[in-house]
């Protein structure tokens, strides 16, 4: 295209505007009058550009190079006390940390996907004033961000979630505070047993039978801080360990310090 050579957007010269004649309507049979054109979304004027946009969307099959570029580091451990997950990528660690440790309730060690859910949990489960206030006013806040409704009971809130927000009735992050009975209806083993707690922890399934050590109710524990793999005996071991007085606490001068426990500290 024949553009003047020095043309650039940084050019800012004050140019006088040519004098304008007063606008008059067009004389028949001529009909032209300057007008600003407007096109609506489905107009065929947009066809080529839209096609181009969609080709871009569809071409987004990523390729192998993406994965190989992810930097691997030498294996390292999660530094949270009690957790010994091991990682070899930073992204893997980041995701683990965010899933298990970031929004964690310091009272019962459950973790939550968001600050909002964590705050709601702490308020409803661990705030002693909450129960008192809930008797007088609607305190159970809707879980959906942006919805300001409050309810007088957990059940009312669940009904609202299901009816208005079309949430599943078994929404995982809305467990009621009372412990459910741990007997699960065993479906005839035809296909898959969906009622099996999907916390992907064999131990928790075992655990739901007993556990007076746990602070939380004995329904399937959301997010134990113990590592995943390991035989059941070591798990019970850890439970016992938990009830002990930490070795960092000394009772008087005569108490021996140091590594008192024979068991491996995690």
């Amino acid at each position: 295209m024949l553009l003047p050579p020095e043309l650039s957007v940084s050019l800012r010269v004050e140019r006088p505007v040519l004098p304008v004649r007063l606008r008059t309507p067009p004389r028949a049979p001529f009909c032209f009058s300057p007008s600003r054109l407007r096109f609506h979304r489905q107009h065929e004027f947009f066809e080529d550009g839209d096609i181009h946009r969609h080709l871009y969307l569809q071409d987004i099959l990523t390729n192998v190079t993406e994965v190989t570029e992810r930097s691997k580091v030498s294996e390292f451990c999660c530094h949270i006390v009690g957790c010994c997950q091991v990682f070899d990528t930073l992204e893997g660690y980041e995701h683990h940390y965010n899933t298990l440790h970031r929004n964690m309730c310091s009272f019962c060690k459950r973790s939550f996907p968001s600050v909002h859910l964590l705050d709601t949990h702490i308020l409803e489960w661990h705030d002693s004033l909450f129960q008192i206030m809930a008797e007088k006013q609607n305190m159970y806040q809707c879980l959906v961000e942006g919805c300001v409704e409050k309810f007088k009971s957990s059940k009312d809130r669940k009904d609202h979630l299901v009816k208005v927000h079309l949430y599943p009735s078994d929404f995982r992050f809305d467990k009621p505070k009372k412990a459910k009975s741990s007997t699960k209806h065993r479906k005839p083993p035809s296909k898959l047993d969906v009622s099996m707690p999907m916390d992907v922890n064999v131990e928790t399934f075992e655990q739901s039978q007993v556990d007076s050590m746990e602070i939380c109710p004995s329904e399937s524990v959301e997010n134990p801080t113990q590592p995943v793999s390991g035989p059941i005996s070591s798990l019970q071991e850890k439970k016992l360990y938990k009830s002990r007085i930490p070795s960092t606490i000394c009772f008087g001068q005569g108490a021996s310090r140091g590594f008192k426990s024979m068991k491996k500290k995690v």
Partner: protein, 512 residues
């Protein structure tokens, strides 16, 4: 997404031809879909992992479809944890790349619930792999498969407020794929609070998350019911001001982000739901400055794909300029640098992406219609030759270029004088030789304006065989009135005066 474009596998010559053929097919399918108002596309994030340690980079690992038994076994094994769960899920995921496997999977009773259970587990790597499986399902071309993913949406939305970039990104693209699937899906997503969730998520600093978010939003906004059901909610939230911020900041890293939000804004603006709100938030100056910045980037190397950003921005500005005066104040733009930007874009994209030329001309029309500043600048900045060059391009481009010239001529004698001086007539004569009635008609309008303000133009037109050029259209019903009017009002008197002038001078000359 944007950054991954450059990593694409580059095939050899034969592979290239295949690729081109595939692309042509894709394109014609898309055109057909658009004409039926069913233009829908999904995005896929897929990482093909290496085989052992010595797998080669660039080799696609072929995955096999899975049988029902195999799927069942995989799921049972995952639940029991007999093998490493991540590996099992990986295996499932690869199978789910195939449509038949996807269909078998969703038909198995309880399979989706198991998958969702894994997706919501506390084991990060299992959760991630389950999310990838869900993502493959969301991308399915079988609507039944994608709809089977509906029970996962409340969790997908919950996880948007998480902090893992990769996981959040995956959730966003999955949501985007599901959102575009059907009315039924959106009827669930909206009450589940997708708009507030996105409004929180847009405050993330991570480019990958923002790009994914832009994608979801663009999918929602393209829905048929969007102008009535979705756009009001979006406009009511903090999303517009963040979109405006993100579209213009950090273009180096966030180009993909800007592209997504530019298209979002285009869908909103061209639906004319509440453009006054956007105008009050400064959309016009933001977009003008953005175009100026993009124009200054034209000379640099990394301009691939810029048309994807420029196109929707041009459209927004053009439509905003055309906002009805009665709805509020008329939009005025007076920055001449925009004119320069437009011509730079047209020059740059004329060969490769001609569709952008017509989009630029549309904006140019809307700028020159009422503003003498721009009309004047076209002439004084010496941009007319470039504009005249466009008269020999596609029909739409020619028509728009003629309309811009008419806008300029309409401003009065000073403008016509410049047009005439800079040789507009020869170009007009070429357009008169075309057969398209609308193009010729617009040329006639331009001639009328020239002759009206500048009588001597008629003389010059005659001397360049203009009358003959006109006469070929005198039998065309769409054109004949105007042809006759031009002849009778301007050309015949001009011809007569020429003859009489000649006669007079002949009389003056002494007869030898």
């Amino acid at each position: 997404m944007w950054s991954r474009r450059s990593c694409r596998y580059r095939p050899d010559a034969s592979g290239l031809e295949e690729l081109r053929a595939r692309r042509r097919e894709q394109e014609s399918a898309l055109r057909k879909a658009r004409r039926q108002q069913q233009l829908v596309s999904k995005r896929l994030l897929r990482e093909d992992s290496l085989v052992n340690g010595d797998g080669q980079a660039g080799v696609e690992i072929a995955s096999e479809p899975l049988s029902e038994q195999e799927i069942l076994q995989l799921l049972r094994d995952v639940q029991r944890g007999t093998e490493e769960r991540k590996k099992l899920l990986s295996h499932l995921r690869k199978g789910l790349q195939h449509k038949e496997t996807q269909q078998k999977f969703v038909r198995l009773e309880g399979s989706m619930q198991v998958l969702i259970g894994l997706f919501t587990s506390s084991l990060a790597n299992v959760q991630m792999e389950a999310a990838r499986c869900l993502h493959e399902l969301s991308h399915s071309s079988d609507p039944a498969v994608a709809e089977a993913c509906l029970p996962s949406t409340s969790y997908l939305l919950t996880y948007l407020s998480g902090h893992s970039v990769e996981f959040t990104e995956l959730c966003l693209y999955t949501l985007g794929n599901l959102a575009v699937e059907s009315d039924a899906v959106r009827k669930q997503l909206l009450p589940q609070g997708i708009i507030p969730a996105l409004a929180s998520c847009i405050q993330s600093p991570h480019v990958a998350v923002l790009e994914g978010l832009g994608y979801v939003l663009s999918q929602l906004l393209q829905a048929r019911e969007a102008p009535t059901k979705i756009m009001p909610l979006v406009l009511d939230s903090v999303l517009p001001q963040h979109m405006l911020r993100l579209i213009s900041s950090n273009l180096e890293l966030g180009m993909g982000v800007a592209v997504e939000f530019a298209w979002c804004l285009h869908y909103i603006v061209c639906s004319h739901v509440n453009n006054m709100l956007l105008i009050s938030q400064g959309i016009v100056s933001t977009l003008v400055l953005l175009l100026l910045e993009l124009a200054s980037m034209m000379s640099k190397a990394a301009t691939e794909g810029l048309e994807l950003l420029i196109c929707p921005v041009l459209r927004c500005l053009s439509n905003l300029l055309a906002e009805d005066e009665t709805e509020g104040c008329k939009v005025q733009i007076q920055d001449e640098r925009l004119l320069v930007a437009l011509f730079l874009f047209m020059q740059y994209f004329l060969q490769q992406h001609p569709f952008l030329v017509q989009e630029c001309l549309w904006l140019l029309n809307n700028l020159t219609a009422d503003e003498p500043i721009f009309c004047s600048a076209v002439l004084t900045l010496d941009l007319l030759p470039a504009l005249l060059q466009l008269l020999s391009c596609s029909r739409m481009v020619t028509l728009l270029a003629l309309t811009v010239l008419c806008n300029i001529a309409e401003k009065g004698p000073a403008y016509c004088h410049q047009l005439h001086q800079k040789a507009v007539l020869p170009s007009l004569l070429s357009t008169l030789a075309l057969s398209d009635a609308q193009v010729v008609g617009q040329s006639l309008e331009l001639l009328h304006l020239l002759f009206l303000h500048l009588p001597e133009a008629a003389d010059d037109f005659l001397s360049q065989a203009g009358l003959q050029a006109l006469e070929q259209h005198q039998d065309n019903p769409q054109l004949q009135e105007r042809v006759r009017a031009l002849s009778e009002t301007y050309l015949q008197p001009a011809a007569a005066s020429l003859i009489s002038c000649a006669g007079a001078s002949a009389a003056v000359l002494p007869s030898s």
